[in-house]
Symmetry: C2
């Protein structure tokens, strides 16, 4: 089997380029992939001098960097030599099978749309993000932020793409689709979700379980949580804020108890089975979100990603390529379109 | 000073009527208020037989109960003798100064609107809910669920009412108003928040600090978090779900460490200053949310409220009456209207 080659935006994210390079090295060592670092060649070459591995990583020069607060479309026009533009072009030319970036999400989405195009039959690509929950099969939130204003038919697409992704990545045969709303009953919600409810109820290719509420997210009532990108983004960041608070207090608590019991925090947490749990609340274990509905595999990593998160994002990219999700979305949509 | 009389829906909520009666007794004992229990007279009289206090609590008969899943408007029409309808009528007739309910929120909102009416100049009453955060001055979320579909001018009203409430209840002279969005920058958001941003920026009677994101909520960046009732309700319940998970694991962790260190969980948590913190994550410490923009004081308690939460909700009702928030909203709106 041919080694999968993954392009990594080495210039995007809070800890670029150092942690990107470290993450790439980890990925090559642990996941058996090849990584193409896209960023300032001289800087990356210098960082690679200290690398324990001599093969599996290459460098492609990208002289420009798109910052976090830049306007997506304008930044693409102004910076044709940015790591995002050059990295996504590697997919277009077939030089890489996936692109991973912790940089400006809007620019990654816009550049993917412009360069790779939408998958057949998809009108609105969306971000599918695994949520930190307490089970081994995390819920997938779609859309986590690509589309601020949506129509019901877009949410139906999100439900379909999310179901496919959940099915092939998490191996859930019939993922339960829940529509995020402000009440369980069919009549509850805003105009968007009320109209979407009817479409989801009639769709034969998904397993719709009805409306779900905010607290259902962490209770893992649904495998796929469908919502517009505005609400999805706010929910995601609200959970992140809560988890951050929680994790820091757990560490604090652990330190105090360690001093009482003379055990190490990590050992204590592990002994009572909470080690894996705090791990699950840590976004870096997931590594990234997938841009669904694009002709190519694009993984959006968290802006605060360090080496481990980057390695995990590359792992998600590898899985997504191996399971041929992009092709499956195309096929599925084709069947559906021809069926109408 | 005349004792404040508060009507309590003794039939609404998961733990009615037992915990309602217990909460009322606590409130009379600790807060120096009078409580009117509204519910099935015979049942309440029986429960009151065991009461340690003989004055300060009275009973008003209400033979019907509106369930959680009933349609708000229809339930009001079908059940004119429900505890919600009768309780709110006590405000109308001047027999009580506030009404507290852990029952069907939609029915409480609808009945308040029909019976008491909107405050002068307010087009959309909204639910203002204090969020469990780590500081002594919790952020106020408006709207926490009364209005699923909103226009920008409604969100401006929420910002104004929230500022007033925050100012008089929490004594914050110039509450910082943040608009909940999916990005910090002015251009970010959906159509609703983009248009609202302009209105809030121009409003002279509030202290607008711009967009805030999901994780800013727990970081306490803003004193008043403005959003539509659909998003607000989802955010509130998402936080509740996270906190529930967290609290149960803290208890679990506490038990394990207690067995190691032979100290009580509560003592341990208190010793390291986390007791007050877990308390702050517990919705029952807040007790309730206020329905803003209504001609009367209506406090909506959590459906899962037990005695302590009910006592705290009655406390919030007392504070709201004492500080004359309803009158202040009227005055404020009058000034604003005449100024145009």
């Amino acid at each position: 089997m041919k080694t999968i080659k993954i392009a990594l935006d080495a210039a995007g994210g809070d800890y670029a380029p150092h942690e990107m390079v470290k993450g790439a090295i980890k990925a090559v060592q642990e996941l058996g992939v090849e990584v193409v670092l896209v960023g300032r060649k001289n800087v990356l070459r210098k960082l690679m001098e200290k690398s324990p591995i001599k093969s599996g990583i290459s460098v492609i020069d990208a002289k420009q960097v798109i910052d976090f607060n830049e306007h997506p479309i304008r930044s693409l026009q102004n910076k044709p030599n940015s790591s995002i533009v050059i990295g996504i072009n590697l997919l277009k030319s077939g030089s890489a099978s996936a692109f991973v970036s912790a940089g400006n999400t809007g620019a990654v989405v816009a550049s993917s749309l412009l360069t790779l195009g939408k998958a057949n039959g998809i009108s609105r690509p969306a971000i599918g993000c695994f949520l930190d929950v307490l089970t081994s099969r995390p819920a997938l939130l779609v859309d986590a932020g690509a589309n601020s204003d949506c129509r019901p038919e877009h949410l139906l697409e999100f439900a379909r793409m999310g179901s496919l992704y959940s099915k092939y990545i998490l191996k859930i045969p019939f993922p339960r689709v829940g529509l995020l709303s402000n009440g369980m009953e069919e009549g509850k919600g805003n105009r968007l979700t009320q109209d979407t409810f009817q479409l989801l109820k009639e769709a034969k290719d998904i397993t719709f379980i009805g409306n779900i509420e905010g607290y259902d997210i962490t209770r893992k009532t649904a495998d796929v949580v469908v919502t517009d990108g505005f609400t999805g983004n706010i929910v995601l960041k609200t959970i992140e804020g809560s988890n951050d608070n929680f994790l820091s207090s757990m560490r604090e608590l652990g330190h105090v108890f360690s001093s009482v019991s003379r055990l190490k925090t990590r050992d204590l947490l592990r002994d009572i089975g909470l080690g894996s749990w705090t791990k699950k609340l840590d976004f870096s274990e997931y590594g990234g979100a997938c841009l669904l509905g694009i002709n190519g595999v694009i993984i959006i990593a968290h802006g605060r990603s360090k080496a481990r998160a980057i390695k995990n994002a590359i792992g998600l990219a590898k899985e997504t390529v191996e399971r041929g999700i992009t092709e499956k979305v195309k096929e599925e949509k084709y069947e559906q379109t021809s069926g109408n």
